[in-house]
């Protein structure tokens, strides 16, 4: 790391709130990336007749465990559970509960069995698992569903965890892609200026005044809802956000003496842009980035809330908010949605606040 970046990193670390926010956020995000291991309707590890299976990432038909169907085993079914524990005793199809009880001592109906087991994830539901339990949906929090269930009887906690991951991944994709496009567009305009700048600016004005919401609704109506289409459309309308600042930074930097000196040395335009001007524009970009990130999360939630976002099967925080509005008798939905958004956005804002201060050369830290 260069001394400048070392100084920035030590400045960032000195901001305790930002530093801890970064740690908490990173832990949450990395855990959510491996959500299949913690939050899943399939076991992590199964021992059946002395061999090991990892259903969380592999397809096993029910026949593997002595069942009848060639479809994937439904591990939550009591019959499948019985088959695995007893090592495939056929009587499981008739009275699974008794057989499981009987199997505790290793002998079933007088015969010795190869005892098996399953290791379940911490939360044994996926975002689309329909929880089979008595009472009407949405159901209140209890020992099985820590944050209750939603109106389709799906576990809210599982949906929040997957929804968090989806929100962040969506935001990262859109932010990175639209920043790169916006950065290049701004750089070209600022560096060359003149006629290119003039024409580009007019195109941008037209582009920015396109009602993006309508376009998204129309495109969804034609092509059907999908995650990748939404990513594409968000990038399509998101990239102008950065153009302004980057263009201004490049317009300023092209008259710097060290840029002139490089030109006098005969350095090519692209090299000048990358080596000399890009680092300057980075700082301005970093101050705008938090707005793009939080804005993108908000935009996704808004679309889902309005019902124009991701497909309804996808885990979506915006859809959870919509359910909360429709089910005021189930306050756990509203509280969950509120705290998820509040914590997620606060962490991001704190982190970026620290980053911005760390990049500010005039800020003194005592």
């Amino acid at each position: 790391m260069s001394p400048l970046n070392q100084r920035r990193w030590s400045n960032f670390k000195r901001n305790k709130r930002a530093y801890w926010s970064l740690i908490i956020f990173s832990v949450l995000f990395i855990l959510s990336l491996f959500a299949e291991l913690f939050v899943n309707e399939k076991p992590i590890l199964v021992k059946y007749q002395g061999s090991y299976y990892t259903p969380f990432n592999t397809f096993y038909p029910e026949t593997t465990f002595g069942g009848d169907f060639r479809a994937e085993a439904v591990y939550r079914d009591i019959e499948v559970e019985c088959l695995i524990i007893t090592g495939g005793v056929v009587d499981c199809f008739d009275a699974p509960e008794e057989i499981i009880e009987d199997a505790a001592d290793g002998i079933v109906l007088g015969e010795e069995i190869q005892k098996g087991w399953m290791i379940w994830p911490l939360i044994p539901y996926k975002y689309n698992t329909i929880v089979d339990k008595p009472g009407t949906a949405p159901g209140p929090p209890d020992a099985m569903n820590w944050l209750g269930t939603d109106n389709a009887s799906r576990d809210v906690l599982a949906r929040v965890i997957y929804g968090f991951r989806l929100s962040i991944l969506f935001t990262l994709l859109v932010t990175v892609a639209s920043s790169i496009i916006g950065f290049i567009a701004g750089a070209v305009q600022g560096f060359f200026g003149g006629r290119i700048d003039l024409i580009f600016q007019r195109i941008l004005e037209i582009w920015a005044s396109t009602p993006s919401l309508y376009v998204i609704i129309i495109m969804f109506a034609i092509l059907g809802r999908s995650f990748w289409l939404l990513v594409f459309l968000s990038i399509l309308f998101g990239w102008p956000a950065l153009v302004g600042v980057v263009r201004a930074e490049f317009l300023r930097a092209r008259n710097f003496e060290y840029v002139r000196a490089a030109r006098a040395l005969g350095v090519s335009n692209t090299t000048i842009m990358f080596r000399h001007m890009l680092p300057n524009a980075m700082v301005a970009t970093l101050t705008i980035l938090p707005f793009i990130v939080t804005g993108t999360i908000g935009a996704l939630a808004t679309l889902d809330f309005l019902g124009f976002g991701l497909p309804s099967s996808a885990p979506s925080l915006g859809e959870l908010t919509l359910q909360a509005k429709q089910n005021l008798q189930a306050p756990w939905l509203a509280f969950t949605a509120f705290f998820t958004f509040a914590i997620m956005l606060s962490l991001l804002v704190f982190i970026f606040e620290g980053v911005r201060d760390a990049f500010d050369p005039r800020k003194t830290f005592q």
Binding site: Y258, L265, G266, V267, P279, T364, F365, Q366
Partner: protein, 534 residues
């Protein structure tokens, strides 16, 4: 005489990243009523910090200790409210940069009235009368019509006059002037100094004058404090300090003046660059169809000719087009008229065709802080040209960088550091090394010494002269500092508002200037004696 400002054992330190840097280490000075006191020193000596700390105008990271009393009252423990009553009312400030010390969005009337209404409660008609009176006093012509002007409509000198008017608005007892003339042209400088001396005598105020320019001190100050590394090394009446300096540092400051003459041009030297009636006109376009209604004539018909080993000094005030001309010769901006470089017309060559020629012509800029990219190491900066033009056969980049660093007087071990770790003079050496590593034939020097302290200026001039002798370099030397020009140039060209006013051999122009403008310029720059008005 009564003590107006009395500072005892002032210490100022700045904390950054947990480390404490001492900027001022226990200085004591005082200003009496009606007296002009100068704080002199090179950049970084703590002179501005000392002055600003008297009314606590420093950044939050500063720690100040010591006794500061103004007119008998103790300021060191005064509350912020008490200080506000003193600032701008009893003690006024003039700053260095007239371009940025005025708010660009306010008219002159509004700027000056602000402080009047704050401290005296004046508004409406009486305030307006007072503003006109003040502007008249500082020598702004037709002040009544100027009231609604914005700062950008004034010249640099006029802006500094407005700043002085603002400082005088409340009839201060003490005026603290922080390098008030440094950013101005020499002829304007002389006028402003004259004005300050007059006003001081009229208003009978004390003045604390901060500067690095000893010529200015000699003209204006009664007593002098010389500062070095945050300490006062010598003080006394001006005549004494200038007549019989005791401290070695003061002696060094006084002797620091670019002197001597350049080595003579070798006989039968080849002509390297020549222009004929080079014009740089920027069109003024109006209306929808971009009709050209006129031209801003930045440079009008300039013909230059420089031989190998020769220096052409281009002299002129700001806005005279001297830098524009040099940039055009290097084909960094567009121009009209032939430019012959090594017997080849380079006007109209495409940038790809120009690239091989770039190695032969290089430029060194004025600001050693702005001309080096802060995010690159010295090695990367110096080696940048090599990445375009290639290294010499059989040598690697690092080897060549080390050699050139040694040649310009830098330790090759320092090549991994970043520019901010170097002083102004060292940075200028880096900039020179960047240009020299390509072994150019022509070097444009755009005010390479203006941003540097006197003692450093002398070293840089020496270095440039040595390099010229060794490699038979042709220099295009741009400066407003006539002393440095005299020390470096074989030929001189004087420019004014885009026109070439006078051109000739250096000794002829300096000893026997032909035009009135050149005479004025020489008088203002080289003659430091003002009519005694105080």
């Amino acid at each position: 005489m009564t003590r107006l400002l009395d500072v005892q054992d002032l210490k100022v330190s700045f904390s950054q990243d947990g480390t404490l840097t001492e900027a001022v280490k226990g200085v004591s000075f005082h200003v009496d009523k009606g007296e002009t006191v100068a704080l002199v020193g090179e950049s970084g000596s703590g002179k501005s910090v000392s002055a600003l700390s008297t009314v606590r105008l420093l950044a939050d990271s500063a720690r100040v200790s010591g006794q500061i009393s103004y007119d008998g009252t103790d300021l060191s423990n005064a509350s912020e409210r008490e200080l506000m009553a003193v600032r701008g009312n009893d003690i006024s400030f003039i700053f260095q940069e007239p371009m940025t010390s005025l708010n660009p969005l306010h008219t002159l009337e509004k700027q000056i009235t602000e402080s009047l209404s704050l401290h005296q409660g004046l508004s409406g008609e009486p305030a307006r009368d007072r503003v006109i009176e003040l502007l008249e006093k500082v020598g702004i012509p037709q002040p009544a019509e100027r009231l609604s002007s914005y700062p950008h409509q004034l010249s640099g000198g006029q802006r500094q006059r407005v700043m002085i008017a603002m400082a005088l608005a409340n009839g201060p007892e003490l005026l603290i002037a922080d390098e008030p003339t440094t950013a101005l042209d020499v002829t304007i400088q002389a006028q402003i100094l004259e004005l300050l001396a007059e006003l001081k005598a009229q208003e009978k105020m004390g003045m604390l004058f901060i500067t690095h320019d000893l010529g200015v001190v000699r003209k204006i100050a009664d007593r002098v404090y010389v500062m070095q590394h945050g300490e006062i090394v010598e003080h006394g009446p001006t005549a004494e300090i200038f007549g019989a300096p005791k401290h070695p540092y003061t002696k060094m400051l006084l002797e620091a003046e670019a002197a001597g003459v350049p080595a003579p041009v070798p006989e039968n030297a080849q002509e390297l660059v020549r222009t004929e009636d080079l014009r740089i006109w920027f069109p003024i376009e109006r209306g929808l169809m971009k009709r050209t209604v006129g031209h801003v004539k930045a440079v009008n018909a300039a013909s230059i000719s420089v031989r190998a080993g020769e220096t052409l000094g281009i002299v002129g005030e700001s806005g005279s087009g001297k830098t524009t001309l040099a940039l055009a010769v290097m084909r960094l901006i567009s121009s009209q008229g032939p430019i012959h470089f090594q017997d080849r017309d380079i006007q109209g060559l495409k940038s790809r065709q120009l690239r091989p020629l770039r190695a032969d012509m290089q430029i060194v800029f004025q600001d050693p802080y702005g001309s080096l990219s802060p995010r690159m190491t010295v090695e990367q900066i110096i080696a940048e040209g090599l990445s375009v033009h290639g290294t010499e056969a059989g040598r690697d980049t690092r080897d060549m960088v080390a050699e050139i660093m040694e040649e310009v007087g830098l330790e090759p071990d320092m090549m991994h550091r970043y520019p901010h770790e170097f002083s102004g003079g060292q940075r200028q050496r880096i900039a020179i090394a960047r240009a020299m590593i390509l072994r150019p034939k022509l070097v444009v020097l755009d005010e390479p010494t203006s941003a540097l302290d006197m003692t450093v200026q002398v070293q840089i001039v020496e270095l440039l002269r040595a390099l010229q002798r060794k490699y038979e370099l042709a220099y295009l030397f741009i400066s407003h500092d006539l002393k440095v020009v005299r020390a470096l140039s074989h030929k001189v060209m004087v420019m004014k508002q885009g026109d070439v006013v006078e051109t000739g051999l250096a000794e002829d122009v300096f000893s026997n200037p032909q035009t009135e403008y050149t005479q004025q310029l020489l008088a203002a720059a080289l003659d430091h004696h003002l009519p005694q008005s105080a």
